[in-house]
């Protein structure tokens, strides 16, 4: 009963992996800088412990895009940087 979400990471490109990780890192930095966990969770449509669960696993590129969109993280820039580094 492998997690359906985690299994996606096998079929992604390096650019997608780097992009998703970079978006997650940006969210982690915001939380570390004191952004409200409850508010971020609410903006993502989650309860706070759902945000903890989200941060505890790798994201798909689609999840990263949704998070970036909800939190106004510059997804296009991050993706371009990931592509440039590949």
């Amino acid at each position: 009963m492998t997690s359906m979400v985690d299994s996606v990471i096998f079929r992604e490109t390096t650019i997608e992996r780097r992009t998703a990780d970079a978006v997650q890192d940006e969210l982690r930095r915001r939380l570390a800088r004191g952004w409200s966990r409850d508010e971020i969770a609410a903006r993502l449509g989650l309860v706070p412990v759902g945000l903890d669960a989200l941060m505890g696993r790798y994201w798909t590129i689609e999840e990263a895009f949704r998070v970036a969109e909800a939190l106004e993280i510059d997804f296009a820039r991050i993706h371009a940087e990931a592509a440039g580094a590949a």
Binding site: M1, S3, V49, G50
Partner: protein
């Protein structure tokens, strides 16, 4: 953490930090889920929602799935209730960022409590029904109507104990538990053969050799305790074991019967320690991702974290063999009831 595990930690001078974290996280999830589902779909119907897997074992991590079954107890007059229950589960998964099981596999669907009991061992007792029944028994936790789940387990045990010899462990139950364990192992091999992709192999392999094996062992322990401790009411004893005591806590009970056997207590200590290490491994997303990237054969894998857990799984097997087949307290029962 369950009191049996805490008691074992005192006896064995052991700490289980990863399992403590997982137990606290799991318990919070269960309590929140009960409030949520009662609010969403109420209680005035014959449905229960039972979750299996790591949540049921109180070993949940951030990456755990929400493997649920909607268990129908008798006829439910308003059929829209079934759909409401499944929609509520999907909403729960979305809000908690948990992977939902979908509808094509073992979970995420409605099952009949009566059928699961009535067809034990008969021609329509398929791999799916066997799996659902044993998972509901060994690691199911209700997130809606716990009293219905307890009633279901009690009725199931009544079937297993019917016409059983009162002196020994419940042999019918042991046979079905063992049959399920062999089914899991065969199923693993079958999927390795069928699936052209090796995606996720490493984690499936480790879970089979550690957590699924320990769940099997936990059910065996409960059954053998019936013979070792001779409770007045076997059915009530087993019902409490499977409803109120998580899998690893059932294993930890062996401290009660291994008193004074330092070798066996040392082996039990190692078993619980390995379980804690694996829980920590599963809580680490990098380790999990690394395990999923591994490809068979297992001997070719050199990634250090995976190798460490592979060696731990070998050590677990050795400890269990010594515990059940060398320890004086268990070896006679094991030889008689766990072999032929």
């Amino acid at each position: 953490m369950h009191e049996f595990l805490e008691a074992a930690c005192d006896v064995l001078d052991l700490e289980l930090p990863a399992l403590e974290r997982a137990a606290a996280f799991s318990q919070e999830q269960v309590q929140e889920a009960r409030r949520f589902f009662r609010d969403r779909i109420g209680l005035d119907h014959g449905l229960d929602i039972v979750v299996c897997g790591s949540l049921g074992r109180r070993e949940m991590s951030a990456a755990s799935d929400f493997d649920y079954l909607v268990v129908a107890h008798g006829l439910v007059e308003d059929v829209t209730r079934f759909r409401s229950a499944r929609l509520a589960c999907d909403e729960w998964c979305t809000r908690r960022s948990l992977p939902s099981p979908g509808t094509t596999g073992l979970f995420g669907r409605v099952v009949s409590a009566t059928e699961l009991v009535e067809q034990i061992g008969l021609e329509f007792d398929t791999n799916a029904s066997l799996t659902r029944r044993l998972l509901l028994l060994e690691e199911g936790v209700s997130v809606l109507q716990p009293e219905k789940h307890q009633q279901f387990v009690n009725v199931m045990l009544g079937r297993y104990l019917l016409e059983e010899d009162a002196g020994g462990p419940p042999w019918f139950l042991l046979n079905d538990v063992t049959r399920y364990w062999r089914t899991i192992a065969v199923d693993y091999q079958a999927k390795v053969w069928r699936d052209l992709s090796d995606d996720g192999w490493g984690l499936r392999w480790l879970k089979l050799r550690i957590s699924r094996k320990l769940t099997f062992v936990s059910a065996v322990v409960s059954a053998l305790l019936v013979a070792l401790e001779a409770p007045d009411d076997r059915r009530a004893f087993l019902c409490e074991q499977f409803v109120d005591v998580p899998a690893l806590a059932r294993v930890a009970q062996l401290t009660r019967v291994l008193d004074g056997d330092e070798q066996a207590l040392g082996d039990l200590r190692d078993v619980l320690s390995i379980a804690d290490r694996f829980a920590a491994y599963l809580q680490d997303k990098e380790q999990r991702a690394a395990a999923r990237r591994m490809r068979p054969p297992v001997g070719a894998v050199v990634e250090p974290g995976f190798v460490e857990m592979r060696e731990a799984s070998d050590a677990l097997q050795a400890c269990l063999e010594r515990l059940f087949f060398d320890a004086p307290a268990l070896r006679d029962l094991s030889r008689r009831y766990l072999t032929f």
